[in-house]
């Protein structure tokens, strides 16, 4: 017997000319618009324990990642970094660019929306830039309050081949396209007489996801990704901030928050067992927290992994068919099938429903923290170990520390 529908979400398609899609949200998975959160806790943690980009906070393992890539991934990542760098650099200074005309003095939300679709973005939303999520190193960089959230879908076929080099082409290739599109959209906004600052997806000013949720563009999935009504988690996110007059969107309840607890295919299938099945309250938000130390080594070693993205039914089939099926049959579409849950890992083979790979413990031994923190940790081990470090080891430690301090930190990289 079909479930009772609590409400129906109506969203525009991924192109201007597309028909409206209607997504039914069953009564048993209806929740709050956006995400359950305690505002005062979000503010407290932001003030006392501000977030920092992983490119700084996790710099040691980010550098280590390159040492476990396959030669093919290594070569491709080098090519990508080279091709992408000029656009990331250009984005970093967009906040300084002055418009060359006087402000038009009207709300330009719809102009931006149309242009976003013309440029190829699959979804766009508007909200206030939430500075509580800004990284410590970026708090002073963010100039304007209006946030334009843009999502670019990555190739469907390539994504379904995860984990693979082909899927990495989709992942990083989408970033390259998105950076160019964001710069073009910023130029467009300036042509109305307003400032526009591009927050590159490869030099994030914050985790973008909370602002996408606030703009009604999806909800946080158990896999830690934005589940968009159009492409699930198969999208790359960027933000442009502006001082242009905008009309903000509202958060939406797509039923994802509770649906994920009924599904949990991502948690069951994660090769690294890195997704918590139970939700916890973290920094004022209720979510399925990911265990970074389990995710990172598998992700780095196995072509970006992202099995959690691949096996999400909303990514694979689309939100509407999945929610229709939940209402009509009370089942998670695809759950328990090879079509949804099967995946292969290089050198490990195929894993169908109920099967997971095992890994040698050494896979999970990797550097932690910033580069200097990791260097100190290694040196401390030597100090504590028997006779302590030799003169040569102490000298090498100081030399490497000087090099790290001279190089400094960078916020650039994939978040």
């Amino acid at each position: 017997m079909p479930k009772k529908v609590h409400h129906v979400v109506r969203r525009t398609g991924t192109r201007l000319e597309d028909p409206i899609i209607e997504i039914p949200v069953a009564e048993d998975i209806a929740g709050v618009p956006g995400i359950p959160q305690i505002e005062k806790d979000v503010s407290f943690y932001s003030r006392e324990y501000p977030l920092e980009t992983q490119n700084i906070e996790k710099a040691a393992d980010r550098e280590w990642s390159w040492s476990v890539y396959t030669p093919e991934v290594f070569e491709y990542r080098e090519l990508h970094e080279k091709a992408n760098a000029p656009f990331v650099k250009a984005a970093a200074v967009t906040g300084e660019i002055e418009p060359t005309v006087e402000p038009v003095g009207r709300d330009i939300t719809e102009d931006i929306r149309r242009k976003s679709y013309e440029l190829g973005f699959g979804d766009v939303g508007f909200t206030r830039y939430d500075r509580r999520y800004a990284f410590a190193s970026k708090k002073r960089w963010v100039k304007f309050q209006g946030a334009i959230c843009v999502a670019l879908e990555q190739d469907y076929a390539q994504t379904q081949s995860l984990p693979s080099l082909e899927a990495e082409y989709a992942h990083f290739g989408t970033y390259e396209t998105e950076n160019k599109q964001c710069l073009a959209l910023a130029d467009f906004i300036r042509s109305f007489g307003y400032h526009a600052q591009v927050h590159s997806p490869n030099d994030n000013s914050a985790p973008f996801l909370p602002m996408f949720v606030e703009a009604g563009m999806g909800q946080l999935g158990a896999n830690g990704q934005l589940l968009s009504p159009h492409f699930g988690s198969r999208a790359r996110l960027a933000i442009i901030t502006t001082d242009a007059p905008l009309t903000y969107d509202e958060p939406v309840d797509y039923g994802v928050h509770k649906f994920c607890q009924e599904c949990l295919v991502c948690a069951d299938r994660c090769p690294a067992r890195a997704i918590m099945r139970d939700k916890v309250w973290y920094r004022g938000v209720e979510k399925n927290k990911l265990i970074y130390d389990r995710c990172r080594p598998v992700m780095s070693t196995y072509e970006g992994c992202a099995v959690c993205m691949k096996v999400c039914p909303i990514q694979r089939y689309g939100m509407k068919p999945v929610m229709d099926h939940w209402v009509e049959m009370g089942e998670v579409l695809g759950k328990g099938t090879d079509n949804l849950e099967g995946f292969s890992l290089r050198d490990k083979g195929y894993f169908g429903p109920g099967e997971l790979p095992s890994f040698d413990r050494s896979l999970f031994e990797f550097p932690h923290g910033t580069k200097d923190e990791w260097l100190f940790a290694q040196f401390k081990d030597k100090v504590e170990d028997g006779d302590g470090p030799t003169a040569e080891e102490t000298s090498a430690f100081l030399k490497e520390l000087k090099e790290i301090l001279a190089t400094g930190t960078t916020t650039v990289g994939d978040e």
């Binding site: 379904q160 039914p313 694979r316 689309g318 099926h325 695809g334 090879d338 949804l340 169908g352």
Partner: protein, 63 residues
């Protein structure tokens, strides 16, 4: 229910017949959804491309 071998054959078939066409992405999305509905013992409605319907028919388990 579609097993890995059925899925491999179906997707190989789709790729060899339509992999080079502009329709491939759309057909692949539909094929995944059609398989999920088949596995859930649900019928495919008229919105499915006949190419996809034939593919599922040809490769379905026990077909």
């Amino acid at each position: 229910m579609f097993q890995k071998s059925d899925l491999d054959e179906l997707f190989d078939d789709l790729k060899s017949s339509h992999g080079e066409t502009e329709d491939y992405d759309r057909l692949l999305k539909q094929a995944h959804l059609a398989i999920a509905l088949f596995d859930a013992r649900r019928p495919l409605d008229d919105e499915f491309d006949p190419i996809v319907v034939h593919l599922v028919e040809r490769h379905r388990p026990g077909g």
